[in-house]
Symmetry: C2
Subunit: 582 residues, 2 copies
Amino acid sequence: MYRTHTCGELRIENIGENVTLAGWVQRVRNIGGMIFIDLRDRYGITQLGFNMELDAQIGEKARKLGREFVVQVSGEVIERESKNMQMETGEIELKVLALDILNASSVPPFTVDDETDGGEEIRMKYRYIDLRRNPLRKNLELRHKLAIETRKYMDGLNFMEIETPYLIKSTPEGARDFVVPSRMNEGQFYALPQSPQTFKQLLMISGYDRYFQIVRCFRDEDLRADRQPEFTQIDCEMAFVEQEDILKTFEGLIRHLFESVKGVQLPEFKRMTYADAMAMYGSDKPDLRFGMEFVEMNELTQNKGFKLFDDAELVLGICAKGAGEYSRKQLDALTDFVKRPQIGAQGLIYCKVNEDGSFKSSVDKFFDQDKLADWAKSCDASTGDLILLLAGNTAKVRKQMNELRLEMGSQLGLRKGVDYKPLWVLDFPLLEWDEQTDRFYAMHHPFTAPKSEHIEMLSIDPKKVNANAYDLVINGVELGGGSIRIHDRDLQAKMFNILGFSDEEAENQFGFLMGAFKYGAPPHGGIAFGFDRLAAMFGGTDSIRDYIAFPKNNSGRDLMIDSPSVISDEQLEELNLKVEIK
Amino acid sequence: MYRTHTCGELRIENIGENVTLAGWVQRVRNIGGMIFIDLRDRYGITQLGFNMELDAQIGEKARKLGREFVVQVSGEVIERESKNMQMETGEIELKVLALDILNASSVPPFTVDDETDGGEEIRMKYRYIDLRRNPLRKNLELRHKLAIETRKYMDGLNFMEIETPYLIKSTPEGARDFVVPSRMNEGQFYALPQSPQTFKQLLMISGYDRYFQIVRCFRDEDLRADRQPEFTQIDCEMAFVEQEDILKTFEGLIRHLFESVKGVQLPEFKRMTYADAMAMYGSDKPDLRFGMEFVEMNELTQNKGFKLFDDAELVLGICAKGAGEYSRKQLDALTDFVKRPQIGAQGLIYCKVNEDGSFKSSVDKFFDQDKLADWAKSCDASTGDLILLLAGNTAKVRKQMNELRLEMGSQLGLRKGVDYKPLWVLDFPLLEWDEQTDRFYAMHHPFTAPKSEHIEMLSIDPKKVNANAYDLVINGVELGGGSIRIHDRDLQAKMFNILGFSDEEAENQFGFLMGAFKYGAPPHGGIAFGFDRLAAMFGGTDSIRDYIAFPKNNSGRDLMIDSPSVISDEQLEELNLKVEIK
C-alpha cells in the first residue's frame, strides 16, 4: 500500500503520528520559506507543509511540482497555525519529511476545480481529468449509493436479480435497434436490447415471480440533449399481482431511496388519470409543485365576436397568482414565447386583476368588465393576479398551455428543487393513431394489457380503450413507467393484429413469447425506472450525462476513445459485410 | 394480489386459516373420492385437497387440470392425514373451496421435475419451462445471492460500482470483438467490450481508487462447451496498491462469499509461482485437493538404453498412492488415455511396488530391481503404490502428465467437491512467443506491468521477464486473474513496441490511454473474476450454462428466441451495409 491514510482522513486526534499519503497535487503555494501543497484524492484534501529551512532539498523538489502530479509523502501530522474550519482536515497539516514523485503530469487542459474553465467538448475528450472534479465524483458516488440501496430494498422483498442477454433478436417494432453481425451465423445479426421486456415476461412464465435487474438498454435514436444511445434501467416484473400491488411496491422503493440516500420523507403519492392530467395540465407528466391548473373557458369566451376564441375547439385559461404586475414588456415576451415555432400558439390573451378590482385585458374590446369578472371567478383570480388564455385545437392548445404554465411556474419561482411531489399517472390509452403511417401504435408497448372492462371495446373502437399502464412522475419528470401485461395468447394475437402485424410477422418476431403463453403464463406486470434520470433527479439537475462515467455526445460519439471508428477489411470479411456509403 | 401466501409458506400453525394460493399444477392424483394436487411456485409446493363429496363441481374442475396449468385456489388450511416430513409444507394441506383457472397449459414438452426427460436441445428451446425446474431455480438463486454478497463486501470496503460503456472501440489485440455498426457515423463501428480494462484504468487515473463492477463482457470466439459469447465478470481495480494489497483484498472477497453463501470456512490461500506450478503440476491451475506432484526423473532414467527416455528432454514421474493393484486392463486403459490425440503421449511407463517389496515395471528389461527401488525412493512410493512415467519435450510432457495426474486423481476419488483448496499462482511470464505469427503476445494483456526488477531485461531477453500477474485457482478451476498495470507512458510504449504495434497503431487504438498517462496516472492494479464460473463452482458443477438464465448454444445461437436472425434490407441500408456471403 502506498499510503497509511487517505487525504480526507486526518484530524486533530492524529497529531504527532507519522503517516504516509498519496494523491494528486491540487495547488502549490510559496510563502516565504514555506511551500504549501494541497494534496487531493477521492476522499478529500490534506495540506502538506515543506519548510525550506528544515530541508531545502525536499523543499526545492516540492516547489517544482506541477498541478496533477501524483506524489507520495511521509511525515508528521502537526496542528495548523491558521486552521480552516471549512475543510474536514483543516485543523492539521502534514510536516513532510519524504517526498516521492510517483508520476509527473503535463499541464492539464482545464482546471480540476468545482468550477472549471474547460468547455464541454474538451472536457468530454479528457473525461478522465473531468472525472477528478468534485461535482462529477459526487454524482458517481450518488449513483453507486442509489444502486446499492435499490438492490437492498429489492432483495429485502425477495426480488431476484436475474441477468438477461444483451445479444438478442432484432424487432422492427418501437425504436431502432442496434444490431451486431454474427460471424458464426452467416448473414445474421443479433440486436442489443431496448429493454429486457420479453425476457422478464418469460421469467414470470418460468415462475420467478419477483424479478429485477439494473440493466443497460440500447436505442439507436437520433439523440437529444438528454438521451444516450446506451442508458441504464431499473427493470422490474412481478407475477400474480394487480396494478395496485405494483404501485405500492414501487412507491416503497422510491420512498426508500429518498429516505436512505437523501434523507427526504416524500409526501403522499398522488394519483391522476391520464385524461385528467391532459385536461388539467396538458401533459402526462405534470409538475405538481405548483397549481395553476387549466380552466376550460369555452362558454365564457366564445360567441362574443373574438375570432380567435370563436374558431377554437378549446379555450384554456390559467391564473398566475401575483403576476398582475407584469409589465407590457414582460407580457410581450410571454407572447413571443408562446408564438415560437416550437410552441406555435397563434396568440396570447391576458387579463390582469388590478388593485382597484377592475380588469385590464388585451381583449377589452370584446369583453366588458362584467365578462372579465366572470373569467376571474372561473379562474379563481383575485387582486394582483394574471389570467393567461390560449385557444385552438384541443391537443395543440393543451400542449401550448403546458409550456406556458411551466414557464410561468419557473418565472414565479414555483419550481424550486427541494420540494418533491410524486404522482402516479394512470389509465393511459392503450393505442395511439399515427396519421402519417395510417396505423395504430402501442402507447406503452404491444404487451400492455387493456383494462379488462375495455377488452370488448378493442374490436369496436380501439381508440377508446384504456390500458393498465402507469407512469411515476416527480416534479414534471417521468422517472418510470410500466403496465400490467397481456398473459393470454389470444388477446396478444389480437393486439398484434390491431398493430398491423401479419400472423407471420408476429410469429417470426414474437413466436417464442406466443409459444410461452401456451404453457401456463401467470398474470403479471412490471415497471422500469430510468436510472440515469433518477440519479440526475437526486443530484438536482436535468443533465443525465453528468451522472454517466463515460457518456457519448449528441452524435453518439465517445470523444475520449474516439469511437465509433472504422474496422479492418479482415474484420468486415469475416462478418460477410461490405460497407457501402451512398 | 392473487394470493395471501406462497406455496412454500404454510405450516401447522396456519391450520384453520382461510388462505388463497396461486401457482402451477405439478401433479394431479385421483384417490377414490379425493383429488390431490401439488401446487408449485418459486417458494415450494403445497398439497391441495378436493373432496368430491363436499363439492363435486369443483372436484370435477380439478380433475380436468393438466400439468402446468396456472390456478388460483382458496380454502382452509387443514392438518394432513399422512404427513410428509420431507416437505416443508408437508404437515398441512389446503381444503379447497374455490378454484380459478388463471391460464391453461398445453402438455409441456418435457417434465418439470428435478430429473427431467427432456434432451438438451428441447430444453434450450423451451428454456422458460426448463427454468421452472428446481435445480435451475436454485442455480439462479445462488447467482443472485453471490451478486448481493459481492456488492455488500465491496461496498463495505469503499469500492464504488461504476458502469462503463458497452459501445466502445474495436481493438484487434486479443480475442475477436463483436462489432456494432453506427448509423449516425457512416461506415464506422462500435465494439462490445471484451472487458472494461481500459475504462477501469482510466477510472484509476481519475482518482476512483477502488472500483468494481459486475459487468457483461463479449468475445466472438469459436465456442467450447464452457464458453459463452457473453459472460459476466466481477471486475475490480485499485490505485496506490501493490500486488500484496490486491491479493489480500480479494482473498477477503472470496472468503466472504464462501462463508456467507455456502457457510464454508476456506483454508489458507496457498501461493505458488507459475514456474513451480508448471514444474510440479504441469498446469497454471493445479488442483491441490491431492498431491501426486511431478518428480523429475531424468538422472534416474536416462542413459540406461531405453530409447523413449534417452531421447526425452524431460522424464516425469508421479506416484499414485494405493494404485499398485491396478490390473493389466486398467494400465492399458491408462496408456490409451495418454495416447489419445488430445493428449498425445508416445507411451506410458509404469512401475508397481508389490506387497513383498519387489517392483514390477513395463521396462524391467532396462531397469533392474535396484534401479526401480531408486525410482520408488525419488517418488516417495511405498508398498501398494503405482509409479507412472511420461517422457518427451518439456512443455508437452508436462501437459500430458497434468492430464494423467488429474485422471488418476479422479479415478482414485481424490477430487471430491466439498473440499476447497484455494491457490494464488504468481509471477506469470509477461510474454509468450507465438511460433505461427512469429511474434510476442502478452500472456495476460498489454497493460500488465513487468516485475520492476525485470524491466531492464525487457530490452535484452523479453522471454525471461516475469509479470506482476496473478491468478486465483480453486480445485483446478481458474476463478479470476489480474495484474499490476503499467502506469508509465514510456514503459507502455515500449510494451506496445515489443508486441509489434507500430507507433501509429498504438496511437490509433490506445491513444486515449497513452494520453491519460501524461496527466498523473497513479500506480494501480486489479483483478477480474468469472462470475458464471464462480456460480458454477459454488453450485458444484462445471457447466456455466446452467447458471445463466438464457444461455446460447455452441454456435452462439439462442434456440428459444431463434437468434441471431436476418434483418431487413431497410435496416441494412440505413447502416450502409451489404451482406456478401461467399
